[in-house]
């Protein structure tokens, strides 16, 4: 909160339609990179344990992730459901991973083309729908 900005007009009050009051980077305290982990859009996250009073320094967004990830949830779904940019979600996930509150399952590295077993599994899965 900067008290004075000479080039800004008088304070304008806005309602919720104007978007969140807290900027995404405030939730991450200015960090743009996670402290641990490497989170792809389709990395699947699951909660290991509930947050407890010893988990100091975590905010309501961390808690929301821990809640959502009781079911396996991708980074993209977290971003959509929490209405937060992916970059912000990655930083928050890094905090949770370093405290072993979550586990993350990354997609297989793309070195070679996928094997027949993956194609067959996905094709059969779609057929069954």
């Amino acid at each position: 909160m900067e008290p004075n900005h000479s080039d800004e007009p008088d304070e304008v009050w806005v309602d919720a339609d104007a978007g969140p009051v807290v900027r995404p980077y405030a939730m991450t305290r200015g960090r743009t990179q996670p402290t641990s982990g490497n989170f792809d859009l389709i990395t699947i996250v699951m909660t290991v344990r509930a947050m407890s009073p010893v988990d100091v320094g975590l905010g309501p967004e961390h808690e929301a992730i821990v809640q959502l990830c009781q079911q396996p949830t991708s980074v993209a779904e977290l971003s959509a459901n929490l209405n937060l940019p992916v970059g912000t979600v990655r930083v928050l996930l890094g905090d949770l991973l370093s405290r072993v509150l979550i586990v993350a399952s990354n997609p297989d590295p793309v070195t070679n083309p996928p094997g027949d077993d993956l194609f067959e599994a996905v094709i059969n899965g779609i057929r069954r729908l």
Partner: protein, 201 residues
Amino acid sequence: MASGDSDVSNGLSVPKATKLLIAGGFGVGKTTLVGAISEIKPLRTEETLTEASIGIDNLDGVAKKTTTTVAMDFGRITISSHLVLYLFGTPGQDRFLFVWDELSTGAIGAVVLADTRRLDDSFPSIDYFEQRGMPFVVGVNCFDGARRYQPDEVRIALDLEPDVPVILCDARDRESVKSVLIESLRHAQRRAQRQRTPSPA
């Protein structure tokens, strides 16, 4: 290699995910297609990027950076307790092609959805996948009232390689979408089988 096995850590069995891309021009029905088959209502995720992260200019030390928001719609299909498939609609504009790089990395297949009334709109997607060597099929979304073309007419108009499947479809229809997705996977699988001949890598 890519077995789709789930990760076991901390005693939890966490599924792995893979993804398929749905590309095509604005308003061609990408999100409709995703919605026709996804088990969740299509969701939207946003990536906020600064000019610096776009990597064109070095803005170190420059106080004011332009931020851009790129939105991507996606859906989910649970294949098994070990494997989840995500369908990602690619953002339309050319200037977001670097987002496509992230999206297409690790994708097992791609569909270019085309509208015969505006075939030109599918060229950027086709060019992109051809340049990256990413296997794709063309799904011709048969809008009500649009003149029906034969797949071969579309193939010629789009100047496609002979092995690229062209399928007439209805992006609103679940069974039709299923066949397009399966065809895209079969096509990618044939490509992968051809590439899997021993090579130094």
